[in-house]
């Protein structure tokens, strides 16, 4: 096998979808917050909490879907905290976000340690299994490459499409966009910018929680502290790369996952000739380049990071 043959293997593409899934959830979540004008740097901590609480729910006997729901609710709760501080009070978004990340992750580890005293490797659950879709999963190559995923992966891709459509085509989506562009314009149209921003941050954070839960409910079967490993920051980068568009966020997550999956396979062929760090830098550098390209077109939500306080000029 040489470096190019890798692209012809179905396993690569299946891996791309798997690796991308938590990133798709997280990126969509961060994107929704930002389209409404709120930068949510709490993402890394929220994903950590989601990973833990989702797993814990299932470990305590809950259904897998209940676990995913718990992760969403947990994410939403931290999102609400972030929103209360940054939207209602209008505090600095990046400082609060960093605080939430520290708070959510340390609280996660604390709770985990109290409820699961250690013994060897952490206990496991039975994770989401690959679903066999009649016909599609049996297709040659495609069946293996694309239709060999667990349910949350399909959910993530579907969500990306639904959110892309929703932002562009529904009254709610338009309201989110106008709040992120100019909350005063939104208010003048009878939209309550504060409630809408809170809603967007809560919903976006729920998605982040689900992204974290994918790691423990599908990608793996137990929770490890620090297992999120900077995936949240990758999502923040991907939102920028996607120029705040859900369909491009999906693409960006897949592209990044492709680099990662490729890198893991390339090692078999060339050893560690290319430092793996170079591959890991790609999403960040990609995003900075994207910012440069977009700079002239000002696609950034214009009210991003600008607090809106009612009755203030």
């Amino acid at each position: 096998m040489d470096a190019l043959d890798i692209f012809a293997s179905a396993g690569l593409w299946a891996a791309v979808l798997r690796i991308a899934t938590p990133l798709i959830f997280g990126t969509l979540g961060a994107l929704i917050c930002e389209r409404a004008g709120v930068l949510n740097l709490g993402i890394e901590g929220i994903m950590t909490f989601g990973a833990m609480i989702g797993w814990m729910t299932v470990y305590q006997g809950g259904d897998l879907w209940l676990g995913l729901l718990a992760a969403a609710l947990g994410g939403a709760a931290f999102g609400l905290l972030h929103a209360l501080l940054t939207v209602t009070l209008g505090l600095s978004q990046h400082v609060t976000g960093l605080g939430i990340t520290l708070f959510a992750s340390s609280l996660t580890y604390f709770i985990f340690r109290l409820s699961v005293p250690v013994s060897g490797t952490p206990p496991t659950i039975v994770p989401f299994q690959v679903i066999h879709i009649p016909v599609l999963s049996d297709l040659p190559f495609l069946g293996e490459a694309v239709f060999a995923q667990t349910a949350p992966t399909y959910l993530a891709v579907a969500l990306a499409i639904v959110i892309a459509w929703g932002l562009a085509r529904t009254p709610l989506g338009l309201a989110v966009r106008i709040v992120g562009e100019n909350p005063h314009a939104a208010e003048a149209q009878g939209i309550d910018p504060i409630r809408l921003r809170i809603g967007a941050v809560v919903f976006g954070s729920a998605l982040m929680g689900m992204g974290g839960a994918f790691l423990t409910l599908a990608a793996f079967n137990s929770f490890f502290p620090t297992m999120v490993q900077g995936r949240g920051w990758v999502c923040i980068a991907l939102v920028v790369f996607a120029s705040w568009r859900p369909e491009r966020a999906l693409l960006g997550a897949l592209l990044f996952a492709l680099f990662d999956a490729y890198q893991l396979r390339l090692q078999h062929i060339v050893g560690k000739a290319v430092p793996y760090q170079l591959f890991l830098m790609i999403p960040y550098l990609m995003s900075i380049v994207a910012l440069l390209v977009m700079a002239r077109r000002a696609r950034v939500p214009q009210a991003l990071m600008q607090p809106f306080r009612r009755g203030e000029r």
Partner: protein, 349 residues
């Protein structure tokens, strides 16, 4: 509920708010401590002991304060001029790497009195360069620096990781990814024997004073303050915004890079990718708590270090999961943010 900006901040409130915030954070953390089955009051007492109860704990608290002062200053001088440098973490790492590379066997061969300042300058220059990149993007292309500086943190850490697994790898470290160590002449003298406390603390406090002097007494201070508070008025008055921002970036990135260099020279001796437990990010917290005042940064850094070291010691003493320390630090940040907000706003109805 409505928020209303206060016309002026009553002194009593300015004092009460931060105290109230700390109390609130401790009460909330108390719930968790109780859940963990430890005696809450004793826990608070243990925190105090953990931070100040012995020669060891005092020196440890001050050792941890040192990099926080520097990264706090880095954030404070930048934010003052409305340069949103979220990249102190990355600047810290490249500063550390520069100091380690030049301070090693293969680096500069200088006597100690020349080597130490040279390495500090090297660290500062490395940090400054890393911040000048996003600044150039902002000035040239109008790219917002919040996101670019944040993202460059991860690039910088990956770069450091690549270096310490590559050309700067310590061949004597048995394959562990760590940089070549600095030579003995490059390490900072200790302030107190048999402790980790080194003269970096004095340097940090001295720099805080110096920056305070610069900000309050010099032309650059006056102009950079004007540029931060009202860029368009500063421009009208003939202040070169670009010039101010470049200087501020050098100062801010330099301070963060210096923090990294000092941590290597004073404490660790070489670079690994876990050299910093988030000193760069915590520096932002410190700067915010200090209201961006350089002397306030010293106090805020001491506060954050106290909280962490105290809580960490408490967790060991009482067998509470050690993650409680970060919980307490983050809680006090969040409550402090709210507390400071309430000094400038009142809530009506």
């Amino acid at each position: 509920m409505r928020l209303e900006r206060r016309a002026n901040i009553p002194l009593s409130l300015a004092i009460a708010a931060p105290i109230g915030a700390v109390i609130a954070a401790l009460l909330l953390a108390g719930i968790l401590i109780a859940i963990a089955g430890a005696p809450v009051l004793e826990a608070y007492q243990r925190m105090l002991i953990g931070a100040f109860g012995s020669r060891l704990s005092i020196t440890e608290t001050l050792t941890r304060t040192t990099p926080l002062i520097l990264t706090g200053l880095a954030a404070a001088v930048a934010f003052r001029a409305r340069l949103w440098n979220i990249g102190a973490e990355g600047q810290f790492y490249v500063g550390a790497l520069a100091a380690a590379a030049l301070g090693s066997e293969h680096g500069l061969h200088l006597p100690s009195y020349a080597l130490i300042p040279a390495l500090m300058v090297a660290g500062a220059v490395a940090g400054a360069i890393l911040l000048l990149v996003p600044l150039a993007l902002r000035l040239r292309f109008g790219v917002d620096e919040v996101v670019t500086t944040l993202l460059l943190n991860f690039v910088a850490v990956l770069f450091v990781s690549m270096m310490i697994e590559g050309v700067l790898k310590d061949p004597l470290a048995f394959g562990w990814p760590q940089s070549v160590p600095i030579v003995g002449d490059a390490s900072l003298p200790k302030l107190i024997a048999r402790s980790r406390l080194h003269i970096g603390l004095l340097i940090a406090v001295g720099l805080a004073l110096l920056i305070w002097l610069i900000q309050s007494r010099t032309l650059f201070g006056l102009e950079s303050r004007a540029a931060g508070l009202n860029p368009s008025a500063a421009r009208f008055a003939g202040v070169s915004l670009t010039g101010v921002l470049v200087k501020v970036a050098c100062l801010s990135g330099g301070l963060a890079g210096l923090a990294g260099a000092i941590e290597v020279m004073g404490v660790k001796g070489y670079v690994t990718t876990d050299l910093s437990p988030g000193f760069g990010y915590t520096g932002i917290v410190v700067a915010m708590l200090a209201g961006l005042h350089p002397l306030g940064v010293v106090v805020a850094a001491l506060f954050v270090a106290t909280m962490f070291v105290g809580a960490d010691g408490m967790s060991r003493a009482l067998g509470v999961p050690s993650f409680i320390a970060d919980v307490i630090v983050s809680l006090s940040l969040l409550t402090m943010l709210v507390g400071l907000f309430l000094t400038s706003y009142r809530i009506r109805r």
